[in-house]
């Protein structure tokens, strides 16, 4: 198993680039009508998932909401399996039965991909419950957006996690908008992190455009949880460059606002840090980016030529024994 210290920053930059190139290509394929349903892109938020994943072990549990392509990739799901899922193919990470919002990878402890806002937060608490029940030292990372914090399920889950002292980090990816509704119009608090205080859960605010800050803060929290199980909450301030989904032109915000965040791009920022410290040359960066683009392009070809689940398997995934009721 890979330990946290071993995760190389250049590797994590590669992951962030892979996520961005994957999402750009997904956007293009969506417009070409190769991908159906809803499709929510993660562009701009890459440092959040990369930083958090860099801070945990491979056997820790990860669960998220519907903007989940990045989390699956960060958990080692191949671009091929992710793109094939978007194309609805059997080789997809959920056999083409889940789609964009339902990426799963059991082997790599990626527990979804959940599309009802806030409904997976109790599931995450259940994962953490199982860790404590079995006396393990794993930790659950539960990602959700700022839109989830006003759902009843979220509140019930936080209370249960605090009451049972469960090993879980609630990671609010605050990208300022729940679909088209800004946090100011949805939430009575001045800052989201204060939600945690109501449940006696320690909370912190983290700059989500800064990979290192995310990684170091989550690592510190996770270390504390491994010593003595407890829940923790981080509000990670980030920004999505695209609309809520592919069909959203994001006319509820200004160009100036978007530009402000683009100038603070998490990939550019980590690249600059590494370059300044002599850990990365421009040639190396170009090479990594080229590799990401090629990997993603190959995934489109793979997805295109992959077969669909045969019709006679329709009933095989309703009950665990495969029988028609």
């Amino acid at each position: 198993m890979q330990s946290v210290e071993q995760r190389d920053e250049v590797e994590m930059l590669s992951l962030m680039l892979l996520i961005r190139r994957f999402e750009e290509r997904a956007s293009q394929q969506y417009q070409a009508q190769k991908i159906g349903g809803f499709c929510h892109l993660y562009i701009g938020q890459e440092a959040v998932v990369a930083g958090a994943i860099a801070a945990v072990r491979d056997d820790d549990y990860v669960i998220t909401a519907y903007r989940d392509h990045a989390h699956a990739l960060a958990r080692g799901t191949s671009a091929d399996a992710c793109m094939a899922e978007l194309f609805g193919k059997e080789a997809g990470c959920s056999r083409g039965l889940g789609g964009s919002m339902h990426f799963f990878n059991r082997q790599n402890h990626m527990y979804g991909g959940h599309a009802i806002v806030g409904a997976h937060v109790p599931l995450a608490v259940g994962l953490a419950f199982a860790i404590k029940y079995r006396g393990e030292d794993r930790v659950t990372l539960c990602f959700f957006g700022d839109g989830a914090i006003n759902q009843g399920s979220f509140h019930e889950a936080l209370n249960l996690a605090a009451l049972f002292k469960l090993p879980i980090v609630f990671i609010c990816e605050n990208n300022l908008f729940a679909m088209g509704t800004s946090v100011k119009r949805s939430t009575s608090l001045k800052q989201i992190v204060d939600r945690a205080e109501g449940y006696d859960i320690p909370g912190e605010i983290v700059d989500g455009m800064n990979f290192r800050e995310v990684r170091d803060k989550i690592a510190e929290i996770v270390n504390s949880i491994r010593k003595e199980p407890h829940p923790a909450f981080v509000e990670i301030r980030t920004y999505r460059y695209r609309g809520h989904s592919m069909s959203d032109p994001a006319s509820y915000r200004t160009k100036q606002e978007l530009e402000k965040y683009r100038l603070d791009d998490p990939i550019t920022r980590l690249r600059a840090q590494l370059t300044r410290e002599g850990k990365l040359t421009n040639e190396q960066f170009d090479q990594i980016d080229k590799h990401a683009k090629e990997t993603v392009l190959a995934s489109v070809k793979f997805a295109e030529k992959s077969p669909q689940l045969p019709l006679d398997k329709l009933y095989d995934y309703t009950y665990a024994n495969g029988a028609k009721p």
């Binding site: 799963f104 059991r106 527990y111 009802i116 259940g126 419950f129 095989d316 009721p325």
Partner: protein
């Protein structure tokens, strides 16, 4: 065999499964220190400790979801709803998360969870506390649903539910908790398969299809009908999903007349589904139109006289039987 109550039978089933499998735990409101709102979990905290018998706050959505999450990593939660009327607060977890996970994950995550508790109208609890939820849940592929009517079925079905690798709803009944029946001794393993109906009484003139609380009503009514020379066969579905079509068809092929008596409401109810399947598959066996006796299609009134008017009873069932028998 010995005679025990339905409540004791459920308690034995829980204790035996907790004893057998360390991954099984019981969670819900008042299940531990209070010993269960209906005393089904009596003594379990003392025996198995607070790690496995877990009281929750009043947060059905939260703890039902917690159970689903724990089941994703292989635990086998038994989630008690104080009544299934309260499960409506957790509807999203029971309908959206538990049964969809296996499909959505392409078969990676099955959810071995049991949701259990009393279901259906009791006595003068009013509209919010009287729901018969089976047709709501039966409409969700991925769920299995059983409705034990006797102590023996309660024990055998609950034990099977806990061992099933899918989400199973065990719909008990408040009015049956104190009822008694013969059950195998504790040292004899009692497992009753899901999806298997049972003929609770043989007959030749009419098939009465029933489940849960209406089984008792049907059996009592059959005795009265016997006095009028009408021989009724009582088919207890025991499971709503999977539905034991064969048992229903076998009985109808024998009697050629059917009355369905159900505890839920008529619109898109269990009876409607049973009726559809009979006419689709063995229409030619029928000598009369199928009738059903169900609740009236109104929110349950508190007033006792009105509540009686809403619920199935012996008079309504006898009238329906006579009508299909042209008697």
């Amino acid at each position: 065999m010995r005679e025990i109550t339905y409540r004791q039978a459920l308690n034995e089933a829980l204790a035996e499964e907790l004893e057998r499998d360390p991954d099984v735990f019981l969670m819900g409101e008042e299940v531990a220190e209070y010993n269960g709102a209906y005393k089904v979990s009596q003594g379990l905290l003392e025996r198995f400790g607070p790690r496995r018998i877990i009281d929750t706050p009043i947060s059905e959505n939260g703890f039902a979801g917690l159970g689903v999450g724990a089941a994703m990593v292989g635990l086998r939660p038994i989630i008690e709803f104080m009544t299934f009327s309260f499960s409506l607060v957790a509807f999203d977890q029971v309908v959206n998360n538990a049964p969809n996970m296996f499909t959505m994950s392409g078969g990676q995550f099955n959810i071995p969870i049991t949701f259990r508790g009393p279901n259906g109208p009791a006595h003068q609890l009013g509209a919010t506390h009287s729901h018969a939820t089976e047709p709501l849940y039966a409409n969700s592929p991925g769920l299995k649903i059983c409705t034990p009517a006797t102590p023996r079925d309660a024990k055998g079905l609950l034990k099977t539910a806990v061992r099933d690798n899918n989400p199973v709803l065990v719909l008990e009944a408040e009015l049956l908790y104190s009822s008694k029946g013969m059950v195998e001794p504790p040292d004899e393993e009692l497992l009753i398969p899901l999806g298997r109906a049972e003929v609770k009484r043989e007959g030749s003139d009419v098939s009465i299809v029933c489940y849960a609380q209406t089984v008792r009503l049907a059996l009592a009514t059959a005795a009265k009908l016997e006095e009028e020379d009408i021989s009724a066969e009582i088919v207890d579905l025991r499971s709503i999903k999977p539905l034991d079509e064969k048992a229903i068809f076998d009985s109808v092929a024998k009697t050629h007349r059917v009355v369905i008596v159900e505890q839920d409401r008529p619109f898109c109810g269990v009876g409607a589904e049973v009726c559809y399947r009979i006419q689709e598959n063995i229409f030619d066996e029928l000598d009369a139109p199928i009738l059903r006796v169900s609740q009236k299609d109104v929110p349950m009134p508190y007033n006792e006289r009105l509540e009686k008017a809403v619920l199935p009873n012996a008079d309504k069932l006898i009238a329906a039987v006579k009508k299909v028998c042209y008697a």
